[in-house]
Amino acid sequence: MATTSTTSTDAPLTIAGTSLGSRLVMGTGGAASLLALEDALVASGTELTTVAMRRVARPALGAAGAAATGDTSIWGLLERLGIRPLPNTAGCFTVREAVLTAQLAREACGTDWIKLEVIADDVTLLPDPAGTVEAARILVDDGFTVLPYTNDDPVTARHLADAGCAAVMPLGSPIGSGLGIANPRNIEAIAAASPVPVILDAGIGTASDAALAMELGCDGVLLATAVTRAADPVRMARAMRLAVEAGYDAARAGRMPRREQALASSPADGRVAVGDATAAPGARDNLDLAL
């Protein structure tokens, strides 16, 4: 008799025709050091990782400037680990800033993949839906593979997919909050309706959040701070890898129906009697149900 074993790798996450061996997309912000980040990235199993674009440091400013380059850079690290870079437009508050940053990222990183972020304000850090859709249209027309960071709103997600985005990335809760998935019904609705992969982005605090995202139907999870600011980033990275795989399998395993009442899972017949065990059958109704 043949048995079939299914694993998460049977159906890889495919974005714009490119298959990824992991459904966990990592960010790199907040890591204490490049060395610690490297260990966490390896433990996470990720094959796609975000980077930000910033001005290079001027020589006179020394290593304390904005951006290190060369072998000590995040760029060199990802190249060495064979991880595909996903540049972002973090910190952009306007469509023009986001489009120029994306175009610079394409030149610098040699990829037309872009994590589009158009942020509404620097307090909530929530996506600006109108600006995000407008920038997405411009970048799709310009040949980019656009993965937009968006609100947990099914209608905005639909507009982004209609605009030609290669994926949509709704937030679970605000960036860096670690509050998990604030509106699971909306995430489920986005995942159910989306013609393109849905990657939950932002808000993940711990492994159960990542598993829930996958159980709600997401195709992947993007997280950074949950790992980089954990007390043990490497261990949390491994936990996230396992959680994404567990949630993916659970979502496809056909979960049992929920019940309002308890239901015994052992047979009701043949139970041991002690003393005068002639209890009325009516008192054992929910055990009878087990048969």
Binding site: G27, T28, G29, G30, A31, L34, L37, T50, V51, A52, M53, R54, R55, V56, A57, R58, P59, A60, A66, A67, A68, T69, G70, S73, I74, W75, G76, P85, L86, P87, N88, A90, R96, L100, Q103, L104, A105, R106, E107, A108, C109, K115, E117, A224
Partner: protein
């Protein structure tokens, strides 16, 4: 003690604005030369890696760096990938 031309900001000298700061210029400088001066460590075997340049809000493709000259008054952004997101 000598003063680096990169950091010497004399308001009387003509300057471009590189990453938001005055960058004195005695004459036009090709983008290739500016990048090599600014971040020599990214140039490997004569090829700059992981860096992009915009002049006056438009990206200059790497293939056009040699023939694109930075002149006084131009606004130049030189960026690279950093940890983030």
């Amino acid at each position: 003690m000598t003063t680096s031309p990169d950091t010497f900001a004399d308001p009387a000298r003509p300057a471009a604005f590189v990453n938001g700061e005055p960058y004195p210029l005695d004459g036009p400088v090709p983008v290739t030369d500016l990048v090599a001066r600014l971040v020599p460590e990214v140039v490997v075997d004569g090829v700059p890696r992981g860096v992009a340049v915009a002049v006056d809000d438009a990206v200059v493709p790497r293939g056009a760096w040699d023939r694109t000259e930075i002149r006084p008054g131009m606004r130049v952004e030189v960026v690279t990938a950093v940890q983030g997101g």
